[in-house]
């Protein structure tokens, strides 16, 4: 395990940020911590980085305790903090050179500049970069020492869609080379399309954990099926298989099912026995967003204003 947290608690006065969080993350891939603002995402990753101390519980990152072995841990850990702060009056190249000097080993800046697509901006004052470019530089600063673990705290918050897509490209390329990337986000589609594993947290606790497919599969929400057949259809065999009819929508019959795989099998038998031809079939599974809204309840509603 590259990260292990046991009963992790963090309180700020009466405010509980983490309420006994248990989590294990193994090496490799891109892992998302997804949750609304105030769920404890930043508190959690900053405890991993050694920037905050837990109130109770234990945590181990790359086999080290961040609170007591922070310096050795940081040699192998790359971070991008939620609030990007770049040293003033320095160029992109100067900032990367400066950060490289803090580590025992570091990579040449050239390939990193290519990876974060800032080759042309190398001599530009970093404070004149666009928001998306500054975020990419922040990721470059996290990669300069070729770390095994990269922690990105809301890397795309506040960026326009194009800048966000560019950044997703950069994060996708972090995969491989035995590197693990942990990122926090409150964008559902970011977790769904970018990450191998999604950990949803709410009120400082893990409420769901798995691949995007697993999480969608665990949903109690039903899938919707639309059928268009030539001729008159008797839906009795489908209803017998537990499918709920929802009436018609134009030429399509509409059904709801909690087990789409079984429904499609029953549908095949029905079409054969009734001698019907299938003209169109549409299936809508619950999305990760449905799962998220189901799990987050009122907290997610607050999020709409932010996202």
């Amino acid at each position: 395990m590259i990260i292990e947290a046991r009963g992790l608690r963090k309180t700020y006065g009466d405010n509980v940020a983490l309420s006994g969080l248990d989590l294990e993350i193994e090496a490799g891939g891109v892992v998302a911590i997804l949750g609304p603002n105030g769920a404890g995402k930043t508190t959690f990753v900053e405890i991993l980085e050694g920037l905050r101390r837990p109130s109770a519980g234990s945590v181990s990152v790359l086999g080290m305790n961040p609170a007591t072995d922070g310096r050795n841990l940081r040699e192998r850990l790359g971070v991008q903090l939620q609030k990007t702060a770049l040293p003033t009056e320095l160029t992109v190249g100067e900032i990367l050179y400066l950060f490289a000097s803090f580590y025992r080993t570091s990579q040449p800046a050239g390939p990193i500049l290519e990876r974060i697509d800032l080759v042309k901006q190398v001599d530009q004052n970093a404070s004149t970069l666009s928001g998306g470019q500054q975020q990419r530089l922040a990721i470059g600063m996290a990669l300069i020492h070729d770390p095994e673990l990269v922690i990105l705290d809301e890397p795309t918050t506040g960026l326009d869609p194009k800048a966000r897509r560019d950044l997703h490209e950069v994060i996708r390329e972090l995969r491989g080379q035995g590197r693990t990337t942990l990122l926090t986000t409150h964008y559902i589609e970011e977790a769904e399309h970018l990450c191998d594993r999604v950990i949803m947290i709410r009120d400082g606790e893990v409420v769901a954990d798995g691949t995007p497919f697993d999480l969608v599969g665990q949903s109690s929400e039903s899938s919707t099926i639309w059928l268009h057949v030539d001729g008159e259809m008797d839906p009795a065999p489908l209803i017998a298989a537990g499918v709920a009819p929802l009436g018609r929508q134009g030429d399509h019959h509409k059904f709801a099912t909690t087990d789409p795989t079984a429904t499609v099998l029953a549908l095949g038998d029905m079409l054969r026995s009734q001698g019907l031809r299938l003209i169109d079939l549409r299936l809508k599974r619950p999305s990760l967003e449905d799962v998220y809204l189901e799990l987050m309840g009122d907290d997610a509603a607050d999020e709409e204003h932010v996202a």
Partner: protein, 282 residues
């Protein structure tokens, strides 16, 4: 144990580049000392500019140490840049030392500009060794920069930093004989002067510049400045803060203030009598 200073060179270089590229830094470190030079030379000390130079250099060193150094530290902490450094293996000692070296280099440039322009305009005289004068100036910078960093660690944000800096700046300037000739001050103020750290810098600079003293004759004030440097550096090692939300270690702060007070009470008792309180023979 010797602290790990990896990255000290590149960080010092980065800090210096930041200062050289900042218009505010150029104004405060070059334009402002010139304004003091001409105000003193043409208004307060007309016709007697040789007498004003040691005090003027002291004012430049103190204002640079307090305003420049503490503000940079506080704003970098407030903007979260120090926190970003904390997420790397760089040590607090490296940050403090790089800040100190930057400040001493910038102060050296300020003082050199002030000394050069001052000589061209006023043709002041220096009785003693120029090398010793430069050494005393450097020691003055090295003694007061840690006190500026101390203010930077104690101040919570950019609203409190100027307040604390001013609170210290005025007694250090007006209570030390830097602004007026000490021999014109009343007896009680001359007694108070012995408790003010910057008086020892004025005394040492006057010794070499006005009275042609050598190193041996300046041993008293130089020892006080060296001790100020050591105590100041120790205070910084105890009080450095990586981020604004990190609480100030109140016990360490009170200890630091107590040790500094003790140092200057001891100096006022033990250091040789100031020569600057004697009226110069004409």
């Amino acid at each position: 144990m010797i602290a790990d200073l990896r990255g000290l060179g590149p960080l010092t270089r980065a800090y210096l580049l930041q200062s050289f590229r900042s218009r505010a830094a150029i104004f405060w470190n070059l334009v402002f000392p010139m304004a003091w030079l001409f105000l003193f030379g043409f208004v307060f000390y007309r016709g007697n500019q040789t007498l004003m130079m040691p005090g003027l250099f002291t004012i430049t060193l103190i204002s640079g140490s307090f305003f420049g150094v503490s503000y940079l530290m506080v704003s970098e902490r407030e903007n979260g840049i120090t926190r970003r450094y904390r997420a790397t293996p760089v040590t607090a000692a490296t940050l403090v030392l790089a800040s100190s070296i930057r400040a001493i280099v910038i102060l050296s440039i300020s003082i050199a500009a002030q000394a050069g322009v001052g000589w061209l305009v006023f043709r002041y005289e220096v009785q003693g060794s120029l090398l010793l004068m430069a050494f005393v100036m450097l020691l003055g910078a090295a003694a007061f920069v840690p006190l500026g960093l101390f203010v930077g660690s104690v101040a919570q944000d950019m609203r409190t930093a100027p307040a604390i800096s001013n609170l210290l700046f005025f007694p250090l300037v007006f209570g030390s004989g830097a602004a007026y000739p000490a021999f014109l001050l009343p007896d009680w103020l001359q007694a108070v002067m012995r408790l003010v750290p910057s008086s020892y810098l004025v005394e040492a600079l006057q010794g070499v510049m006005l009275r042609g003293h050598g190193l041996a004759q300046l041993a008293g004030p130089i020892a006080v400045l060296l001790l100020t440097l050591v105590v100041g550096a120790w205070c910084n090692s105890k009080l450095f803060r990586w981020e604004t939300s990190q609480p100030l270690d109140k016990r360490a702060m009170l200890t630091a203030i107590a040790v500094l007070t003790l140092l200057f009470v001891a100096a006022s008792v033990l250091a040789p009598a100031f020569e600057m309180v004697l009226a110069p023979a004409r």
